[in-house]
Amino acid sequence: MPKPAAVVGTDAVAEAMRQVQPDVVAAYPITPQTAIVETFSQMVANGEVHTEMINVESEHSAMSACIGAAGGGARVMTATSSQGLALMWELLYIASGLRLPIVMPNVNRALSAPINIHCDHSDSMGARDSGWIQLYSENAQEAYENTIQAMRISEHQDVLLPTMVNLDGFIISHSTERVDFYEDEKVRNFVGEYKPHYSLLDPENPVSMGNFDSLGGFYFELKRAQEEALENSFPIIEKVGEEFGKEFGTHYGLIESHYLEDAQVALVALGSAAGTAKFVVNKMREQGHPVGLLKLRVFRPFPAETLRKTLAHIPVIGVMDRSLTFAGSQGGPVFNEMRSVFYELDNRPRIESIVYGLGGRDLGPELIEGHLHELLQGRYTEGVKYLGLREGENK
């Protein structure tokens, strides 16, 4: 039986890490991820988990140590946020390029400047092209369950790529929620044993990793193979999500569809905003308004085919971004990719870019509800809709 507890999101993630029991965790504390590392290192100190905890001097070193350990054939995890993720940048590409199945919860926080510790997706969205799988969590329960599933997805022989499990800073990481924890043994059996494809510590089969690839080498071929692995992860993510459902009760897919069949206006959101939007959609449905929601659980790989199938019949789609693509009023990254999904269709939905919540600006249900009413009435925004921005008097 699952054991319910009232915990903050960071504790839910640390508990998932304890249950997965990676061989190595190398991490550096950064707000709002700190509590994950603190809680987990306490578990290590108490002997509740048998993991080699490496305390490093920066996130650059954290990911470097993770890469070394994973190259040695270990099951490896770390966790970070914001500036920490930014400092890991060059190593993110090395982890994915070397095809090392590292799992990293990332507690979404705004990138400086101005320095801001609150929820914003500019950190993970900036890393969207680094070859990592990206899962987004709506609440603490999902953060816990995504962390468990991430290990299986990453380590699947058809994938072998690192996975970033995103959860919203403070909104999820520091809010107390009910989380149902599963039994240690069940989780461990679900995650299974890890057999590395290559290991630097296998003297019977010596290998060399991270080799120099000169002009006339095979960089191009290896990147193509990496793209294929990401493509291969679609059915694996779905299969792991299904099996998770069979074992623990909650089924996971690439997306979650909410009242989309007959919707005239739909929102697309990821992270905790999807929860708020769901609440609003439920309320408006009770009042008879044809609104719906698509929650994007997987942003990398980008499930274009699934999105096209699920959303093509809806006349108006508002795509919500908690970060900007600084390209000159082009909206956010989710919007840009979403718009490309429908380009080849003859009858394309109208896609609106909604940017909200930067630097932790609160996204209350009233904001979403008000905007859905505008969209229902055909009052569209030219360019980008900045939801919750103080426009001021001077225009």
């Binding site: 390029g97 070397l98 095809r99 090392l100 072998l160 494809h197 290559y198 089969n205 010596p206 290998v207 060399s208 990793m209 991270g210 080799n211 690839d213 095979f218 191009f220 071929e221 290896l222 193509r224 193979a225 294929e228």
Partner: protein, 110 residues
Amino acid sequence: MKKWDIKDINSWGWRDHPLGGTIPESGNAATYPTGGWRSQRPVRDDEACNDCLICFIFCPEIAISAEEDKIGEINLYHCKGCGICARECPRKAIEMVDEVEAQSKERGEN
């Protein structure tokens, strides 16, 4: 140890390479020529050399061999011409000479 057959590697497609560009074989740096990087060539005066083996110990490329307390040849296939051997030799028995000149001498030019 398995040998890795890369005879046709230039015609391999993107599906054919080992995961992440990993090389599934050990010791194959020996087949990789690094001597072409050299602009200075070490030349040893065998009369002055007393087989102290200091150059053998210091050579970062393992380009100098030693057997039974005797210094061996300087392997120009791997020697990058760093000059560490010449600097460390206590008897100044190794001289660094210009590589281009050394090569023209070998070809019998002046």
